[in-house]
């Protein structure tokens, strides 16, 4: 049942990230295949990097084609439906926050299961949560959202960290996952709502 639960969480996470990819495609005025490509890369990018780095066999979407189907379906719906979405910039930010909160705990979970150290699992959580969006923004040749936005990686680190701590303390898997997810999402939501930022570096004067 735990595996089933994780599977559904991951499908939702892939779907919302695919939506953010499709919205980026809309801003670039791409055709439907550009939507499918950016949607898929963003949806499966983070989990793909996680599986490749942990070297745990073929990546998750090779073993189960449902993930690709979700990406293509979401991208297609977005292509035809986006004109009717009034404030898509906001939708992008909230969908991105949801995907980030899901993937930071799922990434850490997969790493712990593969026998990784806690510190490495934390990095895997942050990577899973951020890599899809980084590739999306690199393909669009712009500075990644997570480097421009309010405490993005901080939220992913907090969610993954709390999950790892609770999992090590022996809390039930689902409770630990939900606590980590909720922590990441709430901090990010508050940052979006209230404009929280960390102090930026003053630069080098050059």
């Amino acid at each position: 049942m735990g595996g089933e639960f994780l599977h559904w969480l991951q499908l939702v996470g892939v779907g919302v990230f695919a939506l953010t990819g499709a919205l980026a495609a809309a801003r670039r005025k791409l055709d439907i295949f550009g939507f499918a490509l950016l949607g898929s890369v963003t949806g499966i990018g983070g989990g793909t990097l996680r599986d490749v780095l942990l070297d745990i066999g073929p990546v998750f979407w090779v073993a189960d084609p449902a993930y690709i189907l979700v990406c293509v379906a979401v991208s297609t719906i977005a292509f035809f439906g986006v004109p009717y979405l009034a404030r898509s910039e906001k939708i992008l930010l909230w969908a991105d926050a949801l995907g980030m909160a899901l993937f930071c705990v799922l990434g850490a979970e997969r790493a712990l299961e593969a026998g990784a150290f806690a510190g490495v699992a934390l990095v895997m959580g942050v990577m899973s949560a951020t890599f899809g969006g980084i590739v999306r923004d690199m393909i669009c040749a712009q500075l990644p959202l997570m480097l421009r936005q309010e405490i993005y990686a901080t939220c992913a680190a907090a969610g993954a960290g709390l999950y790892i701590l609770l999992a090590r303390l022996g809390i039930s898997e689902q409770a630990a996952l939900l606590a980590g997810f909720a922590t990441a999402f709430v901090i990010r939501a508050a940052a979006l709502r209230f404009g929280w930022t960390l102090p930026a570096h003053r630069g080098l004067g050059d």
Copy 2:
């Protein structure tokens, strides 16, 4: 013999993609090592991603150094020969079309052989055909050709799809490969020749 045939097709595909990388290096006015680097990354990028995601041991060019030699040789020839190529933008587009048509069927073939589902093999075909060019354009910090060009990914999907269908129907391997290759190349050639495009998204008005 089938393996030998695939080997030669892949060498040709790597070579024509390396040529497109070298032409991109020429436009950026790079030195000969910049040519070799961009040529190699573009030539082997798509197949590398395919092998890493399928997790089928060291990637193809680690097992056989001929691929790297081809990339370096093509890049070197392009460095000294490009000034005499009159209309290199056209050459880039046609070499790219040839490489795309070769790699979409080769990517799908390798995925099917590794036991992947048909839908996953289709994605692998499209990825193999497009990833080298995406990385080439990301390194040059510009929006990837395939997101700007006429129905690029569509051609790769059509070629890979036809190959997978024929292979599943039990057609001989070589006939299926050639049919898929020809389909992808002819659609792409027609798109280049007649300026076919798919309707683009109208954007978000922001």
Copy 3:
């Protein structure tokens, strides 16, 4: 003892590359997590690509969390210490040269140990030495340093090539590593000091 020696060399290489990532983050005026992210990606990027392509199990920093700790520590120190560094552009170039010289021999060493051909080991050396910086610059959406700078990849190829030659001739491992490292670093240092470049391509006139 050889393994211990390699481990320390790699930690130093990861640390100096992380410093170059943190300096790039300073130029972009990022917050402390932006520093940690760019620092980590730059520090571990090249070795990660090497391990994934050779398919030799989980990548090096998954097996040993010290590498991530070094990246985060260096990035944090840079975040608070950079304002006091007067001429950080110079520091970036020299740290980058040091990391490049270390990783070109370490990449080739790991490839030879995995049973790769000499030509493939050369490519792995160059990739290990350059990939972290390429990703750093791609994330910052600018043309990679190594495509703009004096004979960068040439130095890495010279260092990796000499190491491979000496290792094949049966010279002691440490002597071969140091000779390759010194060669790469000295050529790069001379190129930086005296402004050496290779002749660039004249471009395509378009």
